[in-house]
């Protein structure tokens, strides 16, 4: 089998699974459905492994598989660009996806939408692979929208819940804002480069570095800055950067495997991947890089703060995802693209692990998500407990777990950077280390340590949304509430263990290759003046000295302090948090309400725009556009139509006469001239 | 030059003579019992002098169309027969195929009952 066929097989086997199960899932039954989907993704995973090996051997591929159509110089094609960046993403995506597929067998066992769910996640895997394997902007956009579509479908998977529908709509709207920027960016590229092909565009980019886009208002914009910022706005939507982050916490309404796969490990990192892929463009615009840095730093810091006060176990992890995405974005901003991708990879492993672990807890507690109603679970769920520890240590950045390496590399890259806003970014990423450790261990301690608070919470159901979930969750009514939680079945624990392994070792094992070993080669471009990463490479002496160096650095001690604080507040003195909360009422209210961003959005955007919209709708749309242009032209067409219809009299001599007139008209014109 | 037309003259004379002999034999030998129907001029089964815009029996058309059809097709046989020595076996089979198609049509109309008046 040629490599080209292998690429196709990798992309298409999840699609085949999705189609078969989507169309005939009900007839095939549950077992056959999940086997088909798992097989499809397993084939992709194994294939991706081969591709990675092939890429490591120095091979690359860039070509069109199928040209849909060409218009002038613009070509609409399906093509693959297989290089180290793609291969790495392929392995990460298919691995996490495979784990989630297996996990779903256990997690969704009682759900009536079982086969539909499998069809969706296989479809997602296909779309994500198309996105990362694209060699042109059109396919990138297709994958971009397709993963978005599946994401919406899955957030609203339990479509009978009003909250799920609300979250669904919110995700849709926030992503539309981002996609607008993205489309604008692609449009500018087509307009000025005349091509949708990565290679062509990247090749022509330096020549257009000085082109200026006159947008009127006397303030000309450098073209590439405009393109990069527009593209990054797309990334902000997909990767949930401030202020378009609002949809991600709400997306936790979807089933937990989805939170792990789509809203933590893969889809939300599409923005990061896209910016890294576009590095030849971003490197030519310092303005855009500064913008990226500032947005990333803001996201990292402010979202981490929110993580500290959440009581829903999934929301804690969701805010941590936002914060970690901020890290990756900062890394992109300071031109440390390999560091961003490296963090993307390690994060995918440990964040999927944490989500799946949280899901395991949620299942064990019959869909209880409130941390205040957990505690002491370590005795009942040893495997989940142990693997959650691995995930937490990796997220907090304790050596030698994976997160330490990728996070420290980013912090160091920020220190060495000189891009605009790097001072702010440096403060933010350092402070976040403390916060990360704090909220991670807060969650861990609340869930697994301390006194057991589950099982006698029936009376507290009234004010809490968990009650609603408990009762509306299809298929769970038969469970007796309050029974002692049990460890989850093997289909759930095996993926946890398999994800814990890379969370443990992938940092020190791969930092050498990925970050400093010129792994990415030509797939990522870094301009000479943005040499932070190059400096780090010169000072690089291997993983062990890196740990030693890290142990002396501020971030490590901040992380340790965070863990200690968590221990103090939630194990040693569990009475303290309530007191602190009482003292800092205003701050707490600010945080628990997500800085009132949602309310602001509802008030200004939803409310204000609705009012403006109503105005435009009444005056502009209904009377002028609709009344005059649309209905007017429709009426005109309708009237013409009715008139012309009369010509069709039904009399054969009228018809013959028309034909003769036609002949005469043509004769007069062509013979007579 | 003129003697070249002698066969034509002969043909005309023989033709007229033959016609006269036949008519004379007919009137002499056959029984002669005239009635109004027999004496009226014959024109395709219709009254000779009346309004032209009248109803025709549709079966008449069927027969007439079929007649014209076969009549016209048979007309092709004459030129064919004249040049048959020159177009040879190829020409022969061409006409056979032509007639075969014609026969297909004939069988069809026969079997469909188009030739039966009632």
């Amino acid at each position: 089998m040629s490599m080209q066929q292998l690429y196709l097989l990798i992309a298409l086997s999840p699609l085949a699974g999705a189609i078969v199960v989507g169309l005939w899932g009900a007839k095939l039954g549950r077992a056959a459905s999940h086997w088909i989907c798992i097989l499809g993704v397993a084939v992709s995973f194994v294939g991706s492994g081969f591709v990675l090996r092939d890429v490591l051997a120095g091979n690359a591929f860039n070509g069109d598989i199928y040209v849909w159509m060409t218009s002038g110089n613009v070509k609409f094609a399906i093509g693959f660009l297989i290089d180290p960046l793609t291969a790495l993403m392929m392995v990460v995506v298919t691995f996490v996806s495979l784990m989630v597929h297996i996990y779903t067998v256990g997690y969704m066992a009682d759900d009536p939408g079982y086969t539909r769910f499998f069809s969706y996640i296989s479809l997602f895997t296909f779309s994500m692979l198309m996105l990362v394997m694209a060699n042109n902007f059109l396919q990138l956009f297709f994958g971009w929208e397709a993963v978005g579509l599946v994401s919406y479908l899955l957030i609203g998977f339990w479509f009978t819940r009003p909250t799920a529908i609300y979250a669904n709509l919110k995700a849709f709207l926030a992503n539309r804002v981002g996609d607008f920027g993205f489309v604008l960016g692609i449009g500018l590229i087509v307009a000025f480069f005349g091509s949708l092909d990565y290679a062509t565009v990247f090749g022509a980019a330096p020549k257009l570095a000085t082109t200026v886009l006159d947008v009127g208002a006397g303030a000309p914009w450098p073209l590439l800055t405009a393109i990069c910022i527009a593209l990054f706005v797309g990334a902000m939507g997909k990767s949930a950067q401030v202020p378009l982050h609002v949809w991600l916490p709400d997306s936790m309404e979807g089933p937990t495997p989805i939170s792990a796969l789509i809203h933590a490990a893969t889809m939300v990192t599409a923005g990061i991947f896209m910016v890294a892929r576009m590095s030849p463009l971003f490197e030519l615009s310092d303005t855009a890089l500064s913008f990226v840095t500032v947005i990333g730093a803001t996201t990292a810091l402010f979202m981490a703060l929110l993580g500290v006060v959440q009581n829903d176990i999934k929301r804690v992890i969701a805010y941590s995802t936002l914060s970690q995405l901020g890290y990756m974005t900062v890394a992109l901003g300071v031109s440390a693209y390999p560091a961003a991708i490296f963090h993307l990879m390690t994060h995918a492993f440990f964040k999927a692990l944490l989500f799946l672990g949280a899901g395991s807890v949620i299942i064990a507690l019959h869909h209880e998500q409130d941390l205040r109603k957990m505690g002491g679970l370590r005795r009942y769920m040893p495997v989940t407990y142990a693997t959650m520890w691995v995930g937490a240590l990796a997220l907090a950045g304790i050596p030698p777990f994976a997160g330490f390496f990728s996070k420290d590399a980013i912090i160091e890259a920020v220190q060495l950077s000189s891009v605009g806003g790097h001072g702010y970014a440096q403060f933010a990423v350092t402070a976040v280390v403390f916060l990360t450790a704090l909220y991670t261990f807060r969650m861990l301690f609340l869930a697994f340590h301390g006194e057991e608070r589950f099982g006698h919470s029936e009376t507290a159901h009234i004010d809490d949304d968990s009650a609603k979930q408990l009762h509306e969750e299809p298929g769970h009514e038969e469970h007796a509430h309050g029974a002692a939680p049990r460890e989850s079945p093997w289909v759930i624990t095996v993926p946890l263990v398999l994800l814990a392994i890379p969370s443990l070792y992938s940092g020190w094992a791969y930092i050498d290759t990925v970050l400093f070993g010129n792994y990415f080669g030509g797939s990522i471009a870094i301009a000479a003046q943005h040499g932070g990463l190059a400096t780090m490479r010169e000072e690089w002496h291997g993983a062990v000295p890196f740990i030693e160096h890290g142990l002396l650095g501020l971030p490590f001690w901040l992380a340790a302090a965070g863990i200690a604080t968590a221990w103090l507040l939630y194990i040693k003195r569990p009475d303290l948090p309530a007191k602190i909360q009482a003292r800092t009422g205003a701050l707490y209210a600010l945080l628990i309400n997500n800085y009132y961003i949602d309310r602001f959005n509802d008030w200004l955007l939803a409310g204000g725009f609705r009012r403006i919209g109503a105005l435009f709708s009444d005056v502009g749309d209904r009377s002028i556009i609709d009344g005059f242009f649309v209905n007017g032209s429709a009426r005109l067409v309708g009237a013409t139509s009715a008139l012309l219809r009369k010509v069709q009299s039904g009399y054969v001599y009228h018809y013959a006469f028309t034909m003769i007139i036609g002949v005469f008209a043509l004769l007069t014109w062509w013979v007579g001239r | 030059m003129l003697q070249l037309y002698f066969p034509v003259l002969l043909f005309i004379l023989v033709g007229i003579g033959l016609g006269l002999i036949m008519l004379a034999l007919g009137s002499l030998v056959s029984p002669n019992r005239p009635d109004p129907e027999k004496l009226s001029p014959y024109e395709c089964g219709f009254e000779a002098f009346e309004d032209a815009r009248m109803k025709f029996d549709v079966r008449y058309y069927l027969i007439a169309i079929l007649f014209i059809l076969f009549d016209l097709e048979i007309a092709f046989l004459f030129p064919w027969a004249v040049v048959l020595p020159e177009i040879g076996i190829f020409g022969f089979w061409s006409m056979m195929i032509f007639l075969a198609i014609l026969i297909v049509g004939f069988i069809y109309e026969w079997k469909k009952g188009a030739l039966e008046w009632e």
């Binding site: 067409v637 009715a642 034909m659 002949v663 | -």
Partner: protein, 484 residues
């Protein structure tokens, strides 16, 4: 005087036509002896004959043009591709219309045999290399079609439609013969490929030639149903039994396209500048008039008739570019238009049953509730006719518009886009009725399984070729470049 030796022709290039003629005669004979309850024997024999013809086309497929019967007949890639597609269309038409015909007492040997003779006429037209062969094929096709339209004798509208079709068709034939004789007068030959050489050689009287051209173009426009020669189309489409409408609306489009290509490209390429202008007028009028009038139709068959007129306008827009790109775009357009309208009419047939014609827009209301799959197929057909991506109709419209833009006719392309916007309205209206309205008629939909399978494949092919149009387009380009 040709010698005897040259009269022994090469029959192999005409093998498909011969197979069809022999089997049509055979079916006619066999049907006479088939008792009424076993009418399906004739039906299956007809399908078998057309399938055998299609296989014969593949068997003799010509990569380089072969001329035979004293240069009256040509077999080339262009003809073979179109012949094959025509056969395929007839097979689909027979399968789709079986239930409809049976419910109306039209499931008779005559229907099948007339369809086969019409097909033979089309194939002769497609393979013509001589004006008279072309005319012969045209008449064989037309006469069979007139008879097919009138087949439903009890239906007044059908007989009326047949009369109109016949009278106007006779007029068009007259125009064609007149035009052909003018061209003969100007060039002294009736052989299609020799006309070209003579005109290029400068031995033709230009005025007479253009005079003939106008008449020939008029006749072509009549067959295609281009404005202002379109008046027969709505009346015939509406009046004929739907199964016959399906036939008239599909297979003859291939023949008409071949007719146009053989005449204008094969023999009159030298005056391309003149016919280009005429086709611009026809194309422009067809696109506008077709789409605009279609809006005010409440009868689906009539609406599809105007849609046919408009679509032929689009096809002409590609053709009038007068280069290989344009011709292949037009050919692609015809192929995809036939595919789409087969699916569309197929669904109209499916919704009809004994004593009930599903020909009003309201009959499509709530189809999604009655059968989501058929509603989806109809949606594909409508989207394809409207040119909505990712159906094949989009690519077809795109290709013809691009061909027009390439030769500098940007204004025409703009009109085309506006016209297709207007057109989108009435196609999407059907989609709206199917998905957002409640059904008026709740009778269950029944179809034979062979029809279900073929109709589904037909509908899905609209999607498939929309995503993968290159092979189909490649086929059109190859067929044309290997023949012209």
């Amino acid at each position: 005087m040709p010698s005897v030796a040259t009269l022994a022709f090469d029959y192999v290039p005409a093998l498909p036509e011969i197979v069809l003629l022999v089997s049509a005669c055979a079916v006619l004979m066999i049907d006479l002896f088939v008792p009424e309850p076993r009418r399906h024997v004739s039906y299956w024999l007809t399908l078998l004959s057309v399938a055998a013809t299609a296989s014969a086309i593949l068997y003799v497929f010509h990569n380089t043009p072969v001329r035979t019967f004293g240069n009256m007949f040509v077999a080339d890639a262009f003809g073979d591709v179109l012949n094959f597609l025509t056969c395929l269309t007839v097979i689909l038409m027979l399968v789709y219309s079986r239930g409809y015909l049976a419910a109306r007492g039209l499931f008779r040997g005559e229907t099948f045999v007339l369809a086969m003779f019409a097909l033979l006429g089309m194939m002769v037209m497609i393979s013509a290399n001589h004006f008279l062969t072309l005319y012969l094929g045209l008449e064989l096709m037309s006469l069979s079609l007139y008879a097919l339209v009138a087949l439903h004798r009890e239906s007044g509208t059908a007989v009326e439609a047949a009369m109109k079709y016949f009278v106007l068709g006779a007029l068009a034939s007259g125009l064609l013969l007149y035009g052909m004789s003018m061209i003969y007068g100007a060039t002294g030959t009736l052989e299609i490929n020799r006309v070209t050489t003579i005109i290029f050689g400068g031995h033709a009287n230009r005025t007479i030639l253009i005079f003939g051209l106008v008449f020939v173009v008029s006749a072509i426009a009549f067959k295609l149903g281009a404005v202002p020669y379109h008046m027969w189309v709505p009346d015939v489409y509406q009046g004929a039994p739907t199964a016959i409408t399906l036939f008239i609306g599909t297979a003859p489009e291939f023949a008409a396209f071949a007719f146009m290509t053989r005449m204008l490209v094969g023999s009159l390429a030298a005056v391309a500048f003149d016919w280009q202008g005429m086709l611009i007028v026809l194309s422009l009028l067809s696109m506008i008039v077709g789409n605009v009038i279609a809006i005010s139709q409440s009868n689906v068959k009539r609406m599809l008739a105007y849609s046919a007129i408009a679509n032929m306008g689009f096809m002409l827009m590609g053709f009038l570019a007068a280069n290989v790109n344009g011709y292949s775009a037009a050919m692609f357009y015809v192929v995809t238009y036939v595919m789409s309208s087969l699916a569309g009419f197929g669904l109209v047939l499916l919704l009809s049953r004994a004593g009930f014609e599903a020909e009003n827009l309201d009959d499509f209301k709530g189809l999604n509730q009655r059968s989501p799959w058929y509603a989806f197929l109809m949606l594909l057909a409508m989207f394809s006719l409207a040119g909505v991506p990712p159906t094949v109709g989009f690519y077809a419209k795109f290709a013809v518009i691009e061909a027009a833009v390439d030769v500098g006719l940007v204004w025409l392309a703009v009109v085309a886009v506006l016209a297709s916007l207007i057109g989108a309205f009435y196609y999407v209206r059907i989609v709206k009725l199917m998905y957002f309205d409640d059904p008026v008629d709740k009778a269950p939909l029944a179809a034979r399984s062979d029809m279900q399978v073929l109709l589904s494949l037909n509908g899905l092919s609209l999607l498939f070729f929309g995503i993968f149009p290159q092979q189909l387009m490649g086929m059109c380009v190859v067929a044309l470049t290997r023949s012209y």
